[in-house]
Symmetry: C2
Subunit: 247 residues, 2 copies
Amino acid sequence: MKQRLAAIGTVETLPHRVAAFLSREIESGDLNPGARLPTEQELSEKFGVSRNVVREAIAQLRADGMIEARQGIGAFVLAPEQRAAIRIDREALKDTHNMERLFELRCILEAESAALAAARRSQEHLDAIKAALDRMSGEERWEDGSIDADLLFHREIARATGNSYIHTFISFVCEQIRQSIHYARLTNPLHDLVEVNVGEHVRIYDALVAGNPAAAEAAMRAHIIGAANRVGVRLPSARGDHTDGAR
Amino acid sequence: MKQRLAAIGTVETLPHRVAAFLSREIESGDLNPGARLPTEQELSEKFGVSRNVVREAIAQLRADGMIEARQGIGAFVLAPEQRAAIRIDREALKDTHNMERLFELRCILEAESAALAAARRSQEHLDAIKAALDRMSGEERWEDGSIDADLLFHREIARATGNSYIHTFISFVCEQIRQSIHYARLTNPLHDLVEVNVGEHVRIYDALVAGNPAAAEAAMRAHIIGAANRVGVRLPSARGDHTDGAR
DNA sequence: GATATACATATCATCCTACAACTCAATTAG
DNA sequence: CTAATTGAGTTGTAGGATGATATGTATATC
């Protein structure tokens, strides 16, 4: 928790600000793929920082595969497909529409993963999931402590799939959502419908214990749609839109 | 000493090597979350590089949320859940088991996304998808040119969901798979079953044109399982046949 | 005149030193 | 004993110097 507070409150360092600026300029299309960036010296003058700071900023973008620097020539913007990392702009998450998209992605990831977990979970996995569930139920209100337990519950399910990539992706998305919820709570006090939330989790857990993939998937889907609603995001139903796929 | 690597864009810079070393030390558990890294000066001495290089390396790890640096104290390892970025070690993808996990993740992401795309695609989206399909069909063998078109086809479908996060994630996963296929082809010459591959894509496209989410999802799922098989990965089915359910 | 070589220039890569800002602990003044 | 001060240690930033690499230009050679 001390860790997390520090992580959230991390001061914006100069390299971070420069990197964010350039990153935004690239995302917005001001700098197209193939374009050359200004020289390090020009950038250091433009931002009023030392060349060292500019280099650290570029080192970040380079590590992400956003730009490629060639000695003696300059730095060039790469195509989005060539990126080596996924990074989500937390500022953008303050926008409700983006939050909605993130919940949609989460729903896709977690629903099927829950089915996988139901088929593959071991007793050790179930114990870990149960422990998180108990911690969550102990809390009166849905705030920091129980949010931690909530996310841990989801991460443990992801771990139970036995697929480390799934675990990584879900952990990542959940963490982004935690951040955006943090913002959302500053403006809109959330309904503290703990009972509803816990109930949804229990249904997921029961399906996992039963080893019933279809039930686990359905429960997870219902839960995420509910969770989105509780933070003020109306999730467009994934597939019931017009032609309904009876599966 | 410093050998010129003619490889594509992957010039091993000193900060990159230092970052990779530290990153591996963290992943392997030599440095647990909460642990403090050696000071910048110690690291620069240990690796025989300047403090500047160490700082650029740390800037990368910091941007990924792997470590957190606090002025006046030091740099600390963060828990994996707190990462701000997803980065996949391409070396690890040479392992077939990891490739299998990656295909499983891809299947989860793309199957439901195909359903979303079927519900939301515009004519402009369909045109872009069709263009990629045509480019793919024109090729005789499944090699670099048609692989590009293949991945473009999938990216365009992701774009048709209208959800930029989905697009980002799928693009990323596809790119990782492209890399791993590149390795795989070096050892196992692949079957060039172009007709089968194109046929699977056509079925997906038809479902999108028809605006049939369930069909699109099924076609996509079948395709990815088939694609995995063709590169020598047997995908454990996501949930269709948990007939082996005796567990 | 065409080609090849040498030079000058621009740029990134690395190194170095210095100082500022911050934290923590020991010391000192009250 | 308490509280303020001091000092050492660490990261953050600045700025310059030198090496490595790519490009363009001028010169020399044929």
